[in-house]
């Protein structure tokens, strides 16, 4: 192969290959960085609330003085839900189900201290709750119920109660380990359950239990399956859609506006990252084009040599190989340097992230690496095919 390479490296244009190399490096780095930046920022949004995607809106009817006086129901009727479901900006709608029975919860912090409070439960369809299915569910007959608490309950304790009594502040982790005693009562029955806190949500100002449990408990303790929902959970395809705001206004509905803003931010971020990655992709495609042009030119300039090699018994595969290895080598080198560059830039912004968000957990770079390797694979396969077909055209030229 050495002699063949000695022959075929003639006419290799260093400036052309350097041009490809740097252009592809820039493109690849932008793509990888865009992807990794997106993954990292997603982690920030998700760390705020791991149970609900930012695209979900929670909608309720506006409660004004008139509602209270007239006693007009704040529950949604079936036609109202159907109407919302048919809006173009809506992907799917879920109903909040409220408990129709009495709930009393007791937190036991230590032997002497415990909180006890009257509460209520709510549930939304499971597909809106982003918890592993093992953790989120209920087996009938079991006395253990998974629950998601509002994060401000924790804040209320940490910054209110614990502060005033000089008690230790609790982290989410510790609190998750604490069992909650729950008493359910209704229709003359009273049972004790154990609540297992699977997480905290800043999006939902309610105590969430699995839909299965709610359906069963409503029937068992209240003899009813359906309670008219006062809140709806809605997945929208584009949170920045103006039609959402106008629809809500027209129907006198409310939503958690700041969350709408947050989801707007993620949406915008997603678009920006997509644009940046698109630019990277365009640069990469152009650099791929430069590479293919250089290789074609090279093959053209060395066509007599290639033809002679084929005539003295070299196979097209063997003759193509030096150029294929050259391009694959360049591609691998580009990917390696792009990964290093991406990691270097990432280190800079991760430091900033960590100073803003102390709880920030660094996401893995596996997806980005995988994407890089896939891109490398696709580009290399295209290179290999293009070079082989170019050599085959020399083979066939004498037809």
């Amino acid at each position: 192969m050495n002699l063949v390479w000695k022959l075929l490296r003639q006419h290799i244009s260093i400036p052309q290959f350097a041009g490809f190399f740097f252009a592809n490096l820039v493109g690849m780095t932008i793509i990888l960085l865009g992807l990794q930046f997106y993954t990292d920022t997603q982690a920030i949004y998700q760390s705020e609330d791991s149970f609900m995607k930012a695209d979900y809106l929670i909608i309720n009817k506006r409660i004004g003085s008139l509602t209270t006086i007239t006693g007009k129901s704040s529950a949604f009727t079936l036609p109202e839900v159907q109407d919302l479901d048919q809006q173009e900006f809506v992907e799917r709608v879920g109903l909040f189900t409220s408990s129709a029975y009495d709930v009393k919860a007791t937190f036991k912090l230590d032997e002497g201290t415990s909180f006890s409070t009257e509460m209520f439960f709510e549930s939304v369809p499971d597909e809106f709750v982003d918890v592993k299915s093992d953790d989120w569910g209920y087996q009938q007959g079991s006395h253990e119920v998974p629950i998601i608490l509002p994060r401000n309950y924790l804040d209320l304790y940490n910054f209110g109660y614990a502060q005033s009594r000089n008690m230790p502040k609790l982290s989410e982790g510790i609190l998750s380990a604490i069992r909650l005693k729950i008493d359910l009562a209704g229709q003359g029955m009273r049972d004790e359950y154990e609540g297992r806190i699977v997480g905290f949500s800043s999006r939902l100002n309610t105590i969430l239990v699995p839909q299965q449990f709610m359906d069963w408990a409503n029937e068992y303790y209240a003899g009813t399956k359906t309670v008219a929902p006062t809140r709806l959970i809605v997945e929208v395809n584009n949170p920045t859609d103006d039609r959402i705001t106008s629809y809500l206004q027209d129907n006198d509905y409310e939503t958690d506006q700041d969350k709408l803003d947050a989801s707007k931010q993620t949406f915008l971020l997603r678009i920006i990252v997509a644009i940046v990655m698109g630019v990277g992709l365009v640069i990469s495609i152009l650099s791929f084009y430069i590479l293919m042009l250089s290789v074609y030119l090279l093959v053209e300039k060395n066509s007599t040599k290639l033809e002679n090699l084929l005539l003295i018994g070299y196979s097209p595969t063997k003759v193509s190989m030096p150029y294929q290895l050259l391009t694959i080598g360049l591609n691998v080198l580009v990917l390696a340097i792009a990964i290093v560059a991406m990691l270097a830039v990432r280190n800079v912004y991760l430091e900033m992230f960590e100073s803003f968000f102390p709880d920030f957990e660094t996401p893995s770079i596996t997806t980005t690496l995988l994407a890089g390797v896939c891109l490398l694979g696709v580009v290399s396969i295209l290179n290999v095919i293009a070079i082989k077909s170019k050599v085959m055209s020399i083979w066939k030229r004498k037809d």
Binding site: L3, V4, Q10, L309, L311, I312, G313, Y314, D399
Partner: protein, 214 residues
């Protein structure tokens, strides 16, 4: 491969030519192993075309060319690669050497592919042909006569059933021509191969089994 048969083979450019007188074109000709053929030709009678048809890199002919009864027009790339490595050797009139490589490298590039000859054998041939001192010179800096001898050595660096030599001694003196003839026949005999020599005038003096006028 035991025989090569030309079955009414005719270059397409000759189709219009009336009263074509040839013992090869548009005839049935059989080349057999272990025999020596001389194809004599005038300029422009398609001598190099014949070589390129048989070697599979030109197809502008009518009729058929058969290797052991198989029509070569249907051969696939991989079959041709195998034939060029193991069954057919060709010394081109235009030599097709690589000017960037030395004489030895030009031979090596073929011999490394086939593994046919020992380094020692190749060096002996260089000596016998009187170009041992030019072994490591770039081909581009050698005379055409010297290049012809290098091309011959390269052509011998593979197993073959037939060897075609297209005007092998056009630029050689009588002594070297004789040596070329000896090397060629000795190696062909060793391998039990058929030899087809073409010439437009001066040709190697050998005991040809058959002389064909193209």
């Amino acid at each position: 491969m035991k025989e090569i048969v030309l079955e009414h083979t005719l270059p397409k450019v000759f189709v219009q030519v009336k009263d074509l007188q040839s013992e090869v074109w548009n005839q049935t000709v059989t080349f057999e192993k272990e025999r020596l053929y001389l194809v004599e030709a005038n300029s422009g009678t398609g001598k190099s075309s014949l070589c390129s048809y048989i070697f599979g890199y030109r197809k502008d002919y009518e009729g058929r060319i058969l290797f052991d009864g198989a029509d070569i027009a249907r051969f696939k790339t991989s079959q041709w690669v195998k034939i060029r490595q193991k069954s057919l050797s060709l010394l081109w009139q235009e030599l097709r050497l690589f000017p960037e490589l030395t004489a030895m490298e030009n031979v090596d590039i073929k011999n490394k592919l086939t593994g046919q000859q020992t380094k020692q054998q190749i060096e002996t041939w260089f000596e016998q042909l009187g170009i041992a001192d030019r072994m490591h010179a770039k081909i581009g800096r050698m005379s055409f006569g010297q290049q012809q001898r290098v091309a011959l050595i390269r052509a011998l660096c593979q197993p073959f059933d037939f060897i075609f030599v297209d005007e092998p001694i056009s630029h050689l003196d009588d002594t070297n021509s004789r040596i070329v003839g000896e090397l060629l026949t000795a190696e062909a005999k060793r391998q039990g191969a058929g030899v087809i020599v073409t010439s437009i005038g001066k040709h190697i003096e050998l005991n040809y089994d058959k002389v064909l006028k193209l």
